[in-house]
Subunit: 406 residues, 2 copies
């Protein structure tokens, strides 16, 4: 049997970072930089005032204090956005707003709170240091500085920085496009009237949601019946021209496991047992003349869910340009003991609260109730048979799960 | 001065959960349930096999073992999705697939691995317990059970569960629609050729990204110049018919703080100082005849960013139907000491790695470089003047920030 790490490597060997899109920086949330972002301006781009107050020469206020205010004539206002190049005459002041450009000749700003706030003339009650409340051009960033590295997964702060550096567009990897396939004659669409032996195709909707939560796009979404000809025809040219196909079901030991049967014939896909629970039957490879990467997941909902996190998600990350090792894994403390199977990596569905994790109820591979309560997957190594209360366990966050206050 | 908690309460008092949309369960990722979800079927909905193998009566295999296999005639196959109601004759077996309905009369399943796998007759090498490898109807969930509570923020596991329970549509709160307004004559669109004194309107793009990262929608996105008439006209009927307006800039002590000037006249908005850093000048209230809730944020990018997290995000959560206290805050250990201002809640931009946080460089309110490196905001209470190395600090995760392996 393969280990989880070995199968993940086999999956990752099938994919590479996708080509580059150039997008407006304002539309780049959640995308991954394919190239560094270089500042096109200094930040700040001009010396400016850090306060609302008065632009002065510090020397003109020598000796000023609470008891001995110094009064200067005020020659006018400098507003933020004022593009005039003001000059401060010696012995004078200009009223200045936060972010407004510093007049030539000014070397300090006195906050309005340290003055009488006058418009014609101003009484100043302190002697400023040179440079006080002045932000210098380029003190944060200089033109040509790399402000964001390739591989950055863009959040609002990154977008603010790129925009402030006057970079209107950024090069990002294309989002992975994924075709989601469910298989099995027993599956019917949600809301159907169920005949005896039929179940709702919940995996289909779950896998679509996982793809979306991973920041990828659903290219197409298909249910295949267990009919070899239809399955064969589909995989020759999967719908949606995807970057990756994922399937659920049809890959186990049964005589009706058509996906396995057809893709084994085709030869491009390897079906293996992986030493994990849930999720032992796995497969990966390429399909059709287009050699599209495919990952086949087990049909049990919980197996499919867990397998997605450890095999598909790293592939989507790699295609999006993210280091697949950046999986957000975190350490937590076991709040109770639980047993696992020796020789298999166990992905225990756990509820995490304040850094403490507990199994979330029934751990059977068909038990969705407990899955929906879980907030993480504890990754229990194959050589551990029992997680002891108080032990440290590595946990994977669940995709699209919103953490509550821990 | 108000505390952060007081101002947040003032903001929360302006909003309430938004009306309900009914959406397809497959399109409900990230939405918040307005009502509970009740199972429409038992799960499993019929007794079924947990393995690929043979449906048997346990009593027919009494005494079977590795050395003494018992052979039974195989009367046919039961596939998953087979809607026939099969009956198992005494002393016989039926081949059965995982998930297939259990034939009447069968009380155990023998995995294929414990047999010779025969199609006409099968040699079984164990004596099963009654009920072995059988999933009983309703053992996970029963029809009428509440499977998801109102207020659940729907992730892929919740969607799988609702779908499996055969619930095709769910009642969710409408997503908040937010109009984003930036103000200031100094601001120009990203990519402009900057004149002396001009800066890129990066806040606008940042606030849009924050709104989207919060799962809300940008209803409209507007830049206003510092002209009282235009500002007044805008707030009479804000573009986009939003549920909330947020502004940045124009709320400080300057003589060109037009937003403050106009909305103070109007009387619906209260401008206050909040004991926090960054972000002291804040405001909230309602605008126009429609009494649309508004939160006014300071113009400094870092102040605006931090203020969004502590005031706007709780309001968006409340409108979406989420408890605003569910802010994902977590405790971390200070990896170094840093000083803060006494008497103000300090929102220190920190980099978190493995549960340890360190300030992310320059903490000035205009310093975007350090903000883009941060992964959390440490919330340092007003009565703390210095965070000591090793101290526990409460941290807020950054919206839309993707955590790396900690």
């Amino acid at each position: 049997m393969r280990t989880v790490a070995e199968h993940r490597e086999a999956v990752l060997a099938l994919v590479r970072p996708l080509p580059v899109d150039t997008v407006d920086v304002g539309a780049s949330l959640g995308r991954v930089l394919a190239d560094e972002v270089v500042a096109r301006v200094d930040l700040p781009s001009f010396d400016n005032s850090a306060m609302d107050g008065y632009a002065v020469r510090a020397a003109d206020l020598a000796g000023a204090g609470e008891e001995r205010p110094v009064t200067l004539p005020v020659d006018g206002d400098v507003a933020a956005g004022d593009t005039t190049r003001h000059v401060l005459a010696p012995g004078h002041a200009l009223r200045i707003m936060t972010g407004a450009p510093l007049p030539e000749g000014c070397d300090a700003v006195v906050p309005v709170e340290a003055t009488d706030g006058g418009a014609e003339q101003v009484a100043v009650r302190l002697e400023p240091e040179v440079g006080r409340h002045v932000r210098r051009r380029g003190e944060d960033i200089r033109t040509g500085d790399t402000v964001l590295r390739a591989g950055t997964h863009l959040g609002p702060g990154h977008i603010a920085l790129a925009a402030a550096a006057n970079v209107p567009q950024v090069a990002v990897h294309r989002r992975p496009r994924v075709t989601v396939v469910s298989t099995g004659d027993e599956l019917v669409p949600v809301g159907s009237s169920l005949e005896h032996g039929q179940i709702v195709d919940s995996n289909h909707l779950m896998l679509r949601a996982l793809v979306e939560a991973a920041g990828a796009e659903v290219a197409a979404s298909v249910h295949l019946r267990d009919e070899a000809d239809a399955v064969r025809a589909f995989f020759t040219a999967p719908d949606g021209a995807p970057d990756l196909v994922i399937t659920s079901g049809g890959v186990s030991m049964g005589v009706y496991d058509t996906v396995k049967e057809v893709l084994t014939e085709d030869g491009g896909v390897e079906f293996v047992k992986v030493a994990m629970r849930p999720g032992m039957p796995q497969g990966c490879g390429v399909v059709g003349p287009g050699r599209v990467p495919i990952v086949t997941l087990p049909g049990n909902p919980v197996s499919s869910f867990a397998s997605f996190h450890v095999f598909v998600l790293p592939a989507l990350r790699a295609m999006a340009g993210i280091d697949p090792a950046d999986d957000g894994a975190f350490e937590a403390v076991a709040g109770e003991s639980w047993s696992t199977i020796a020789g298999r990596t166990e992905l225990t569905r756990v509820v995490e609260e304040g850094g403490v994790v507990r199994p979330s109820g029934g751990q059977g591979s068909h038990v969705l109730g407990a899955l929906a309560e879980a907030s993480a997957l504890a990754v229990v190594p194959a050589d551990v048979e029992r997680v002891e209360q108080g032990a440290t366990v590595l946990c994977l966050p669940l995709l699209g799960h919103h953490r509550r206050r821990g």
